[in-house]
Amino acid sequence: MTPLIVAHILVLIAVGSVVFHFWSPWWWTEVASNWGGMDTTILLTFWITGVVFVAICLFMAYCVWKFSYQKDRRSEYQPENKKLEFHLTWITAVGVAALLAPGLVVWNDYVTVPKNTLKIEVFAYQWGWKYRLPGEDGVLGKTSIKEINDENPFGIIKEDKNGMDDLLVDSDELHLEINKPVKFELRSIDVLHNFYVPQFRGKMDIVPGLITYYWIEPTRKGNFEVLCAEYCGTGHYAMRGRVIVEEKSEYDNWTAKLITFEKFLAENSKTKENKIKLVKNE
């Protein structure tokens, strides 16, 4: 009796996993960027690994049921079967290669940023987001952590002329133009963070002392939540932001309202009352 029960439970686990996979409501949200290829690779991996999982579970169930202990029976004596072991090895190797190859192709796209992509700085701190867009010259000004102070919250190096027309976004809400590729240049002033929008699929840690990057092309309009995906201290779970993907006209309206670094400096010196406060001890 027991072998039959154990065999049934093993079958149930295999079948139950498949049923959960296809009929549970928890699944990824619709992709909103060009990285649908990642989804495809995941699905391919699911099919290959799923077949292996079910096959091995069923094989075990069969063994448990068929070869359960009987006092007067002996098990088969077969210490080795080189041929079988050899075949299993190369079949596995082929299966693994079939998973790896498409994965590497998509990875190659992911780390190769197309030319003339709009560069946007994502500025991460404990615990929030800000953004900086290049001005008309299309180039972001150089920055240094030493330059950061109340007058210069982004730490833009004033001697670098490219920085003067940079557009500052003192808010956790970023707008993007649909179907226009964008390279996120990721910068942190304190600890590790990670700029993650589940619908975009892309992800990269933000490392203080480095500028890391990844690129996406938004393909679906919408209002998406930004999550920090690298543990960054007590406020990690609350480090949220927004990305709004919209048509060009709406996007242009938004950028028109943004303030350039040059203007920001001028206004700050007039009012003496700083809009953006970051550094407490200076």
Partner: protein, 607 residues
């Protein structure tokens, strides 16, 4: 080593030898080193507390590890309650992160590593190799007490100002030592000190395991006759010897950054509005050091489990382990490859993205020897004579769980797939399945298997079955659905998971389900502990060799084995540990000490 070579030739011949034909088939080489006397304890203290007997040290290690693991279990309950029922307000964010951190570190290092190597290593290596004790019993004792010290320092961090570190078990700087993280001062310091002590203690034990396996095997016990349990523990120990130093230096460097203001891992940063004086360090350097330890660590836990489960499956299906030589080479290959895959934990860490190609390839290559092991386990079941007792049930559950966790490793190892899934609950589900639940199922199977050898009594079968089914089905119910939270995009290490637009269906119900399952599985472990205590005192008396196993640990003159293990004379080994159901033999097992002349007519293919 000279006589090993001599024996390998014999072991490799693979020719069917009708033993009746050989006149001197029982011949063994002479003992190379005369038997040496051991340290004999004189008092209760030196017998049970500062013991130099590996068997006692093994039990001490196991009990200390399990005790620490219980704390890890309780922490996980509190975390799960917070995640599933945030309205109850059980934890503050800081406490939540502290518990996450301590749970992770305790389970990986202080429970699993200590239990497999310190516990099973000490208990089984001398017995299975046929030696009287470890090579250096005194150092072995020191190893255990260093471990105790490490645990005490770890526990002390709960009581210092600021509490234990809440940096996540990966302890990534800069946040591990900056003010936005709980326990960033004393907490992290004590954690690092504790790890350093652990590594020092472990090195003492590890040297013992390696030297004992290489030099203290009894006559006739060639390397290729060792049970796979010893191969697994031995290879894992070698890995640990190479891997732990990376953690050690990483820990020391971070302590210097924290206490003396050096900049190994610290660039110029502004922490919570305060400009720090550090400059030029690399946070990613720490990650490389950590994972150069951290990835082999996965196999330090997994390889002993592989070895033990191979032996359990073979003994309880009364069948020769399938492809022993492949199994040994797979263990060694996995061990070696595990040093070339570490950066697959860092695909989106900001390291040079071109490393992704290399590490994805090496990572998927390691899947091949791992798959071979799974095939060989299930092929051992094929046409076996399977006894569905507790060790076998746990072994079957291990295969299912490990298979599941191994296959999801193919997702995360494949660099592209890792991008959307990294740092989500998919990762949490994967590593709990593959290096949490799977090795623990082997631990349970092993305890049910070897409990009679340690105590002379059997564990209660009924309680064991309840424990088994709740643990197996329950933990599968915890971790299988958790993968799908990762697909949805739920990030790990979130104190609260609100319903966000990225969740098409609320994740909260699923979280509540997982938490309830976790509470039930945890409770079942208490039943197991009760079973241990109850059966040690009042369990059914065990026979001499209750499972009819072949390996030496069941063949001592006294059961449980006494100090010195073997009485007057060391055992003589004539064959490997897997002669089950040999055609022509009377019984369905031939013990390792059975000389060929005693089983005339049996058709042994390899020994």
């Amino acid at each position: 080593m000279h006589d090993d070579n001599e024996y390998k030739i014999e072991a490799k011949s693979g020719v069917v030898s009708d033993t009746t034909a050989k006149g001197d088939a029982d011949h063994l080489p002479p003992q190379e080193v005369p038997d040496q006397d051991l340290y004999h304890s004189h008092s209760w203290w030196t017998t049970y507390v500062f013991s130099q007997d590996a068997k006692y040290i093994g039990v001490q290690y196991a009990l200390t590890a399990v005790g620490t693991g219980l704390l890890g279990l309780i922490l996980s309950w509190l975390m799960r309650l917070q995640i599933a029922f945030p309205g109850l307000g059980i934890l503050e964010p800081a406490a939540y992160y502290q518990f996450v951190t301590m749970h992770g570190m305790i389970m990986v290092v202080y429970l699993l590593t200590a239990l497999f190597l310190g516990g099973f290593g000490n208990l089984l290596i001398p017995l299975m190799c046929g030696s009287r004790d470890m090579a250096f019993p005194y150092v072995n004792m020191l190893s255990y007490w260093m471990f105790v010290l490490a645990v005490l320092v770890l526990l002390a961090s709960f009581f210092v100002p600021g509490g234990p570190t809440g940096a996540g078990w990966t302890l990534y700087p800069p946040q591990a030592i900056t003010s936005g993280t709980p326990g960033s001062n004393l907490g992290i310091t004590l954690m690092l000190v504790s790890l350093v002590l652990f590594v020092a203690g472990f090195t003492m034990g590890g040297l013992n395991y390696i030297v004992t396996v290489l030099q203290y095997r009894t006559r006739g016990m060639t390397l290729m006759r060792l049970p796979l349990t010893v191969w697994g523990i031995f290879t894992a120990t070698v890995l640990a010897m190479f891997a732990f130093p990376a953690l050690l230096v990483g820990g020391i460097m971070m302590t210097l950054d924290n206490m003396l203001g050096t900049s190994f891992f610290m660039p110029a940063i502004i922490s919570m509005g305060e400009k720090l004086t550090t400059e030029g360090g690399s946070p990613i350097l720490f990650q490389h050091l950590f994972w150069f330890f951290g990835h082999p660590e996965v196999y330090i836990v997994a390889l002993p489990a592989f070895g033990i489960v191979s032996d359990l499956i073979s003994v309880h299906s009364r069948k020769t382990i399938f492809g022993y030589r492949m199994m040994v080479w797979a263990i060694v290959a996995i061990g070696a490859l595990s040093f070339f895959v570490w950066a697959h934990h860092m695909y989106v860490s900001g390291m040079n993205p071109w490393f992704g190609f290399f590490f994805a390839t090496t990572t998927l290559i390691i899947a091949v020897p791992t798959a071979i092991k799974v095939y060989n386990w299930i092929l051992t079941l094929w046409r076996g004579n399977i006894k569905l007792n507790l060790p076998m049930l746990f072994s079957l559950a291990f295969i299912v769980t490990f298979l599941n966790g191994g296959l999801t490793g193919l997702f995360l190892g494949n660099v592209t797939v890792d991008v959307p899934l990294s740092d989500t609950y998919f990762v949490v589900a994967h590593f709990h399945m593959v290096m949490g639940i799977a090795p623990l199922l082997v631990v349970f199977g092993a305890i049910y298997h070897w409990f009679p050898m340690v105590t002379g009594r059997m564990l209660d079968e009924m309680m064991g079955k309840i424990h088994f089914w709740i643990t197996f089905i329950g933990s599968y119910a915890i971790y299988f659905p958790m993968h799908y939270q990762g697909f949805v995009g739920v990030p790990r290490r979130y104190f609260e998971i609100y319903d966000s637009p990225y969740m098409s269906v609320s994740g909260l119900h699923l979280n509540a389900f997982i938490t309830i399952a976790a509470l039930i599985v945890g409770a079942a472990q208490l039943l197991f502990l009760y079973n241990l205590i109850y059966s040690a005192r009042a369990g059914k008396k065990s026979e001499r060799n209750p499972w009819k196993a072949n390996s030496l640990e069941w063949l001592t003159p006294e059961m449980p084995p006494e100090h010195g293990n073997w009485g007057k004379e060391l055992p003589k080994v004539y064959r490997w540990a897997y002669d089950f159901s040999v055609p022509g033999a009377k019984e369905d097992y031939i013990t390792q000490t059975t000389p060929p002349s005693a089983v005339l007519g049996s058709k042994v293919e390899r020994s």
